[in-house]
Symmetry: C2
Subunit: 168 residues, 2 copies
């Protein structure tokens, strides 16, 4: 019996009037997510990065040469506010991993770009990161992993629009 099952048991005793079955999914999902985050952060830290900083570098890297994005784009891609993104960029700029310059196409805007050092670092870090994710996922049987991906894809679609659709 795991921790979540114990919790459900206790609620059944204390509040038998309440349906606590959903906690079996949502509680475990949050706990797994927390553990995964801990494990992922171990690799980030080996490259001197926090989770948020890794996200920024990775987003710039997968944008392809010249590895540039506007701060607002970066914020939208990584689910944080523009304020938090500004601070992440500050930190990465300070570390010499990105540069920031005014945008040519929008007088209000900025362009954030990977430096050579930033590109080298994220390439190495990403390789390790994905190996880490592979190890974590391999704790599941392949058919479980497949089914999990399918179910999560369905559930995620409840919260997010497909990419490329206009908002309704």
């Amino acid at each position: 019996m795991d921790h979540v099952a114990r919790i459900q048991q206790e609620w059944a005793r204390e509040r038998p009037d309440v349906d606590v079955a959903p906690a079996g999914v949502i509680g475990r999902l949050h706990r797994v997510a927390g553990h995964l985050t801990e494990r992922l952060c171990l690799v980030y830290r080996r490259f001197g990065l926090a989770e948020g900083e890794f996200d920024v570098l990775a987003t710039l890297r997968r944008a392809g040469a010249p590895y540039e994005r506007a701060p607002g784009e970066l914020a939208a891609h990584t689910m944080v506010t523009t304020g938090a993104m500004s601070k992440r960029i500050d930190r990465l700029e300070q570390a010499g991993l990105v540069t920031r310059r005014p945008s040519e196409s929008d007088g209000r805007g900025r362009v954030v770009a990977l430096t050579t050092a930033g590109l080298e670092l994220i390439d190495a870090a990403f390789t390790e990161h994905m190996a880490n994710e592979r190890r974590l996922l391999d704790a599941l049987a392949p058919e479980d992993a497949e089914r999990l991906e399918a179910i999560l894809t369905t559930w995620l679609a409840v919260f997010e629009l497909p990419v490329g659709e206009p908002p309704t």
Copy 2:
């Protein structure tokens, strides 16, 4: 195509040497978890609580009368440090929802207990919270929800010992 699939596509173009399949699960799991947290926090806020504070009150409630626990126990149950727990208890004590007194059985320890107001609040909040979780989970077909729970249970066991087992 969802955001995670787009990300995988971009990595396939930029780093075809790296296996990015695990991101299909881990990326989506984190995004779903983030969305669930947002939705859950809406209900907490209706009762004037933050996520951490709700967790503490709920843990005390399900302990059963007299709704008491030591701070260290609370910290272990809710996956935060004792420092963070101390501050949560501070906030709840300030709000008149819990009391803190020296422990009778350990001179170093404290006992945290629900007040009458705390008990009333968490009973109401928990009912709404579980209805919220039920609504969120009902976005999935029942057989998907069942399979998801089974898979998450398997995966969680990789990270956590069963309850009641001594550490090896």
